[in-house]
Symmetry: C2
Subunit: 280 residues, 2 copies
């Protein structure tokens, strides 16, 4: 039984939390009307990304079960859909995290705190402290990763070893060193290879536009468990919703490749002596 | 100071060890004449790949410092080059390994035993037991990986965390599940993403041809430390030598991306709780 999933590439307006959430609501209704059961939004899409001070980030942050959650949850309940979105999270003890929430018809199902912070995020946010949660849902086991997490194959492995079938990846991809003009974005090549290596789906929802002089590259993708693109790359300039039909059963069925090889089980931790220690 | 490196895609003849080595000698001379200082050959290129019994594999296997080594070493000494080649290794206690040797002008510099065995290799070979060696040379720190190792990001990470600048990857890539007609081979996409994630060069030398009904896909590549192709993919049918000029200093200089991020140092082992244990 396949499920329709959607990656919503859109352009949040910095600081306009109320209208960003109104737009998310409208886009979720649009995706749901096309049959989507799981809808993924970009990183920090409620607030925008380019904070200039911690107090500014603090002002836009909310608890994971705060006002934004309540609005999105009511929508999920009404439409019978699952929504993943990135938001600045304020913890009970006032720490800030660059987080993603998985909300379903019945409530808040999971929160992921970005483990690998990019650039000046380190000025405002704390690095994640809750590992890589895997959440059971009716459509399979879901995990979340955020943007720069995608540069670390360890991120995908942690999710896969926890049994994840689908990675929901809110992102705010920026231009990176070495990217070649006219070639597929390296960010999406990483999503493909990690999907392939782990036999799971990746739904990457990026933003577009320029915010406080920082350009974002769009090119959202939905990747098959074989590593090939099911949908996208989306435009590098415009808002766009990508759709694909996926089946977590197919991914699980095909994880055994022959009589000897099931790649996820062929790891050799006894020979991985260096990667268990921190190099600095 | 850049170094010219070569990936030699060729078609060994099964069981014809003497003539395979003669061809390797000729191809090394050709690459050296074009300025190559490091020459990489495919997996099991001295013997061929499709063994039908352990006794057959045993018959073609040699110690790492055996007759094949002596011929290649004399050549390296004469030409002042480094050669990496795949061969069936027979250990002192008669175990067989699918190995690669790094031979230089001064002798045997390193042996790598394939850690992730593919399909029926498990009938004839033991899985590697020596981790992922990193070898200091005048052109940088070199590691070796073999074919299916490339499906495990842990392989590249182990080399990178040991300081490797260049991964020499003898391979015998076969068609895999999910590969799409007319698209770049997933094997080479994995090489690109792992080069990018670790900021190191990958020289993948594949074979071509059909051996005992098993086709091989060619498409050898040399990948930059940014993840982009420097040379290749080579033909999927024909023998071919790829060349590229690489500089390990450039890779090291560019591993710091901004004031906050040096990807190799941004790992979060404290949050990688699942990948340190074996899932089966």
């Amino acid at each position: 039984m396949s499920t329709t999933v959607a990656s919503v590439q859109f352009e949040p307006v910095f600081g306009a939390v109320d209208s960003n959430i109104e737009r998310m609501e409208k886009l979720t209704r649009e995706a749901s009307a096309k049959g989507a059961k799981l809808v993924v939004f970009p990183e920090l899409c409620t607030s925008g990304y380019m904070f200039s001070s911690r107090s500014e980030a603090y002002a836009y942050a909310q608890p994971a079960n705060g006002e934004t959650y309540r609005i999105i949850q009511e929508l999920c309940s009404q439409l019978g859909v699952y929504v993943v979105y990135g938001f600045p999270e304020r913890s009970e003890d006032n720490a800030l995290y660059n987080s993603a929430a998985l909300v379903g018809p019945t409530g808040l199902l999971g929160v992921y705190r970005k483990n690998h912070l990019w650039n000046e995020e380190a000025l405002y946010f704390e690095p994640g402290d809750k590992g890589f949660p895997v959440v059971n849902t009716e459509i399979g086991k879901l995990s979340m990763l955020i943007c720069y997490d995608g540069w670390f194959p360890e991120s995908f492995r942690e999710c896969a070893l926890g049994g994840a079938d689908i990675i929901c990846m809110p992102t705010n991809w920026v231009p990176i060193p070495g990217q070649r003009e006219g070639e597929q974005a390296m960010a999406t090549i990483l999503a493909m290879s990690n999907a392939h290596e782990n036999g799971l789906f990746v739904i990457a929802a990026d933003r577009v536009g320029v915010e406080r002089e920082q350009p974002f590259i769009g090119q959202s993708v939905i990747v098959d468990h074989t590593g090939w693109l099911l949908s996208g790359p989306a435009s590098d300039q415009h808002e766009q919703i990508l759709y694909a039909d996926i089946d977590s059963g197919t991914a699980r069925r095909q994880r055994c490749w022959n009589n000897f090889n099931t790649p996820l089980r062929d790891r050799r931790p006894d020979q991985y002596s260096r990667s268990v220690s921190r190099p600095i």
